[in-house]
């Protein structure tokens, strides 16, 4: 059995696979700040239940897993993982905590081209998290907020967008409308990236893909369905095992 560990910027994912089948997985709400001995303890616990032959690490904090047998760059892992869940995929959108990745992949899940958002938090999971903070909306209740009146958030910059949100709040614009505006600004940032890579069958991975309202808006704007696995947060981790 191979254990994959994906230390992301905000969460850590663990997946156990045997012969290309997912046996077990877990998502921890702690990211790159996780201590190595805590990781090691977690691995020991899994080892009591399952025989682990090999450990593979990926993600922003992959170099923290010094006991891993293999380290895989997350872009490469993501392509492979997307291909595992959806054989027909030719592209991936991953909105993670740290950055947004858009990939073009071949039929074997090999990455042929990719774009990552630059030195900027706009359009990333962090941006959304920050907005939720200001709006005082619980992350777990996010799917309850929906509106047809989308507030316009014109700033592309996460820092400026923050003050824009505050000013909208002071104008008594309803929370859900502002949240929809935040979604729109994220989507508008990602769509040109997908256009640049000319991808059609797109897997949507990362935590943000769990947001049903955002996905619905995204699909409407793209005018097509996105391919979303049941657990979109483990795509990269699964891919790392399969590389």
């Amino acid at each position: 059995m191979i254990l994959g560990i994906d230390v992301g910027s905000t969460t850590t994912k663990m997946v156990l696979m045997e012969d290309s089948k997912i046996i077990w997985y877990k998502i921890e709400d702690i990211g790159v700040v996780i201590e190595e001995d805590i990781l090691l303890k977690m691995v020991k616990e899994i080892e009591q239940k399952y025989p682990i032959d090999k450990i593979v690490a990926t993600g922003y904090g992959r170099h923290k897993v010094s006991f891993a047998d293999k380290i895989v760059p997350e872009v490469i892992a993501l392509g492979k993982g997307a291909n595992y869940f959806f054989n027909e995929a030719d592209g991936v959108i991953d909105i993670g905590g740290q950055d947004t990745k858009v990939l073009k992949i071949d039929k074997n899940g090999k990455v042929v081209d990719f774009i990552l958002s630059d030195k900027c938090a706009a359009g990333t999971g962090k941006f959304l998290e920050k907005a939720l903070d200001i709006l005082k909306i619980d992350k777990n209740e996010i799917n309850k907020y929906k509106s047809d009146n989308i507030a316009k958030i014109s700033s592309m910059c996460a820092v400026f967008a923050e003050s824009e949100i505050i000013s909208l709040l002071s104008k008594k614009v309803p929370k859900e409308g502002i949240l929809m505006g935040v979604y729109e600004s994220i989507i508008n940032r990602v769509i040109p990236m997908t256009n640049r890579l000319k991808i059609q069958n797109i897997v949507f991975s990362g935590g943000v893909a769990k947001n049903k309202v955002l996905v619905e808006m995204f699909e409407k704007k793209l005018n097509k369905k996105l391919l979303i696995p049941k657990e979109p947060q483990i795509v990269c981790c699964v891919g790392a095992i399969l590389v």
């Binding site: 872009v75 990455v111 990719f114």
Partner: protein, 373 residues
């Protein structure tokens, strides 16, 4: 692999350059600071004066620069200005006069502020590449000659000019040889070593540069003969200059399994490509006029150059490097990307500044790129 002796010598010469420069100054030689590969150093050398490159590559001097300059401006411009304002660069402080040129908007307007801190002379570099523009440029080089003569009190004779043209051409010839050697597989030298060579070539005494290059080529020929060198994905860097202090991208590339085999930049081919053919001021002007910088209008030669370098150096992938807010190179990147993709040459575009804050993200991207190609 053993360290290259020539690179060790380079580091030693650089360490003692400050002292040497101030000694040369004491002997009565004038120092001309410059900001660009467009400044014809033959003219300066012919008057027994010393050219030194002043472009800033460090984050430390940016905060003081931002007291006067906007935050959203290229880090090279801010860092350069900051060095003068803080008086922390020995080369800047040694300069009797600084030569600027009308390359990009940012530099041009920054010079207007810098003029208050140090005597400056600005050369008009036309952005068009037609005959009329060349005429303007030739006149500018003639004006520079007059200025240098006035500042130094030395007449630039035909004989002196011939001597320095040959000398600077010698440097170019040696860099061509170095690039010839880098075509070998494995690559006989790391990109980080070559980058330092280019960076310090702007600062060192020209005779020292020639000596170091001659030693280096001998050593590299030996390595090639033995088949020694650096394996890894062969990377060509293209874009903005990486001046002394700014090694981030090359360090990351070579950390994640790449080896830089060429650099199409002012700290690269734009520094040495094309010889001065002839010994007149006009001949000198013509060579510099050809430098394919993105500040020029319709800079198609650059795209062709990149494609040629990819072939010659057997490059696996191109890293297009832009400093944040460098509009000229950033926009031209679209053309380069399109042209390379058409030929099936992998390219990744990186935009960064002098801070360390994005090192991990850059590593993620470059690691994936190198794995992909």
């Amino acid at each position: 692999m053993m360290k290259l002796k020539a690179i060790e010598k380079l580091m030693q010469k650089f360490a003692s350059r400050k002292e040497q420069l101030y000694k040369q100054k004491e002997e009565g030689r004038k120092v001309f600071g410059m900001f660009c590969a467009y400044v014809p150093i033959e003219i300066i050398l012919a008057a027994n004066a010393i050219p030194v490159g002043l472009c800033g590559g460090k984050n430390d001097t940016i905060p003081i620069a931002e007291e006067d300059l906007p935050r959203n401006l290229c880090p090279l411009i801010k860092s350069s200005y900051g060095f003068k304002k803080a008086k922390t660069c020995p080369y800047f402080e040694a300069s009797d006069i600084v030569i600027g040129e009308t390359t990009c908007e940012g530099k041009k307007k920054m010079f207007e502020l810098m003029e208050r801190l140090v005597p400056m002379h600005i050369m008009h570099l036309p952005h068009m590449k037609d005959e009329d523009s060349l005429k303007i440029w030739i006149k500018e080089v003639e004006k520079l000659k007059e200025l240098v003569e006035k500042e130094t009190g030395n007449k630039i004779t035909e004989e002196k000019l011939k001597e320095t043209v040959d000398k600077v051409n010698k440097v170019r010839e040696l860099f061509y040889k170095l690039y010839e050697l880098r075509k070998n597989k494995p690559a006989p030298i790391k990109g980080l070593d070559v980058l330092k060579l280019f960076q310090f070539a702007y600062l060192l005494d020209i005779d020292d540069t020639i000596g170091i290059l001659e030693d280096l080529i001998e050593e590299l020929e030996e390595r090639v003969k033995k088949g020694e060198g650096y394996e890894g994905k062969r990377i060509l860097i293209t874009g903005c200059p990486m001046v002394a202090g700014n090694n981030k991208i090359v360090e990351i590339i070579e950390e994640v399994g790449g080896v830089v085999v060429g650099e199409e930049s002012c700290t690269g081919t734009r520094f040495f490509e094309n010889f001065v053919e002839g010994y007149s001021v006009e001949d000198i002007a013509k060579r510099y006029f050809k430098i394919p910088c993105a500040c020029r209008f319709k800079n198609d030669e650059r795209v062709e150059n990149i494609k040629r370098l990819v072939k010659e150096l057997d490059v696996d992938g191109v890293v297009y490097y832009t400093l944040q807010y460098c509009h000229t190179f950033n926009i031209e990147g679209a053309k380069v990307e399109e042209a390379l993709k058409e030929e099936g040459i992998p390219i990744i575009r990186i935009e960064t500044d002098y801070s360390e804050s994005d090192r991990e993200q850059l590593k993620t991207r470059l690691e994936a790129f190198i794995e992909m190609i």
